[in-house]
Amino acid sequence: MAAEPNELRDDVLNGLQLSTQLERVWRTPSGLVGALMSVDHKVVGRRYILTAFAFLLLGGILAVLMRIQLAGPEKTFLSADKYNQVFTMHGSTMMFLFAVPVMEAFAVYLVPLMVGTRNIAFPRLNAFSYWMFLFGGCFLWTSFLFNVGPDVGWFSYVPLSSLQFTPTKRADVWAQMITFTEVAALAVAVEIVVTVFKLRAPGMTLDRIPLFVWAMLVTAFLVMFAMPSIMVASTSLILDRLVNTRFYDSSSGGHPLLWQHLFWFFGHPEVYIIFIPGTGMVSAILATFARRPVIGYPVVILSLIATGFLSFGLWVHHMFVTGLPQLGAALFTASSMLIAVPSGLQIFCWLATLWDGRPVYRTPLLFVIGFIVIFVLGGLSGVMVASVPIDTQVHDTYFVVAHFHYVLIGGAVFPLVGAVYYWFPKIAGRMLSERLGRWNFWLAFIGFNVAFFPMHILGLIGMPRRVYTYTADMDWAHLNLVSSGGALVFAFSFALLLANVVYSLRKGALAGDNPWDASTLEWATSSPPPPQNFDRIPVVKHRDPLWADSESLPVVAGLSAERREVLLTSLAEAEPQIREASPEPSIWPLLAAIATTIFFIGSIFTPWAVLWGTPPMAVTLIGWFWPTGSKEDEE
């Protein structure tokens, strides 16, 4: 079981020799087929990030179209039907194809580096999850371009989405897109959990795990326990539409509210699936630019876990106007307000860190400060809508639109853009332009508030959501015009981000290994990291290893240098246990994703696809798991 005596190990090689040998072993094969076979978490993570941002661009264009339509009364820029598709596609794209995937994408890229390992757990599953995400997103957008895009809202409420009211395939497209993205998200969640539990560097005990990694661990658990609910819901919906089951048909014992319960049992944790990674990014950025560790490390972790737990107890606050028993409404009001406590604790920890640190106001930190301001405002309106009397008044108005954009964009997008500025040097090896970054921040911050703050007022004076136009006598025109102007500025700020990325990829200053003098392990390797991540696996003796061991990094030796091997450690103490083989590149995950895509799309049109679609899936899965005969497989 242990290393063979004649095996080439990393302790007999030095410096350049070791780097060269490990790069040869861990590299992605060259050429197109090689690229399609890649199981390197960095390659997959980069693709995930780029694809998710491409969907952000598409979703953002739809947002701009909506704001053009609503800029004045009785505009005919979009028809009612097209508007329905546009706002459905905007919400579905942003929630399912951007927000969750981009957070998981950052985790796919960063978590293995931050815990000091060479690849993510189950790299082929990781590749498969990316292809599923890509195919699911392309399927949704292709449908939209062929005028069969969903038009029943990102929540697809029944009976609106039932066959009776949506006889075309639009709701089926939506339901099946959910399944695609869910398969991808669940796979990544399992990978993250196992990577954090088993692949941490020796010595990285539970109280030395970076806060971003903690945040992604909590997020992964949320995905695992929330997503099955939408799976049951969307499967039931498509069965109702395809084979005439009666889950939501009240004439046959079904119940439309069952949909809302199942949807929101997923949908509310979904908000925290998006927000919690944002908090992890904030903690990472804040510590680096405040030049000190985040104050209250255990408090932040407990807050993350508490937020995760509480997020499952809130779903009914989306259903206050559906006629709940009063006791239920009171309970869910209390739990909805309670979740402000752990979020507030984290904010106080971050403010204390800034207060006690020596802040360096670079672009990533500006976005973090923008996050704090916007998220606190969103949190305040959240406490308002958690209250039944207020929610009853503002439900389905623009007040709610304002609230959740403050929470989601403030809670996730601002930290995310900060994270792009922060980790771009690691991923690309070059710095983003600081000057463009500052313009980017101020345009985003001002544009966002001008776009969304007036919506609070519009909601309070009665403008409903999801209307494609309004009449001039409603007196909503001025605020809508201001809002649309702000939206254009906000959109322009993203164009600036894109320009900065494109410019800096070629002309940006070289980053070096650790341009921000940060403390976590991803900065201990070169920028961009080599295929093997680390020539030798680091040993962690402190919560901030690069600050504590700034002279010399302790490492282990003895891993194979002639085949892919990762070091497994114990759950709590991170004691080395096993040198486990890490899978070679393979085309099978892609083939499995293609087979699964054919299965899913076929089953929109005929239940027989379940029969003829299964054998190709089975064949590709067997091909995926079948040993290749390589040495690590055979040992």
Binding site: D11, L258, A581
Partner: protein, 199 residues
């Protein structure tokens, strides 16, 4: 950045059993999310049960014998499953092969029985919400069962090839572990599908 070697890990094993290995934790992850799927489906069943004045709707409860026979087989299957587990831990190839074949046959027998169970539900999926939810739950568990049987068959075939190397025994123990979950997941579903409509 300079590096200091502080530990040699070359003597560590290259595979392990149970919580020491990565695939075991992967199996745990999938059990967690699949278990959650079953829990949600049970929740949906009970919700529909609660909002309807009569249950089952327009049908008699399922015939008891298929589900009961299955349950007995599930419980008895723990014995050969444990036999396989011990054989794998001792790296006894012959016994592990026998165990895997027996477990594959048990799985196939349960799939055949599952066909009878569908036929004896006494309702169609499109009769009412009751019919829909029992077909959905049974369908979910059948998918769960079928994938595990498929996995067991592939692993059994693998153990008869040149790939039956020591680390493969770890895969066998993970398969054993997962089967215990299949059994455990079935028990509440049996009570729900076969007995709750008789309350």
């Amino acid at each position: 950045m300079r590096q200091t070697i502080v530990r040699d890990v070359s003597d560590l094993p290259t595979y392990g059993y149970g919580p020491r290995s990565g695939p075991w934790w992967g199996a745990m992850g999938f059990m967690a999310l699949e278990g959650m799927g079953f829990a949600i489906a049970i929740g949906a069943y009970l919700y529909l049960y609660a909002v309807n004045p009569t249950w089952p709707i327009g049908a008699s409860p399922p015939d008891l014998w298929p589900g009961t026979v299955e349950t007995v087989i599930y419980l008895l299957s723990i014995i050969p499953n444990e036999f396989t587990n011990r054989a794998a831990h001792r790296q006894g190839l012959a016994k592990a092969r026998i165990g895997l074949i027996v477990m594959a046959l048990i799985g196939i027998a349960l799939l055949v029985l599952r066909g009878f169970e569908f036929a004896h539900l006494n309702t169609r999926w499109d009769n009412s919400a009751y019919g829909s939810i029992v077909w959905l739950i049974l369908g979910l568990h059948t998918t769960h069962l079928a994938t595990d049987v498929g996995d067991t068959v592939v692993l059994a075939v693998l153990m008869f090839t040149r790939h039956a190397k020591p680390r493969r025994f770890s895969d066998v123990t993970d398969n054993v572990f997962y089967w215990n979950f299949v059994v455990l997941a079935w028990l509440p579903l049996y009570v729900l599908l076969d007995w709750v409509p008789r309350l």
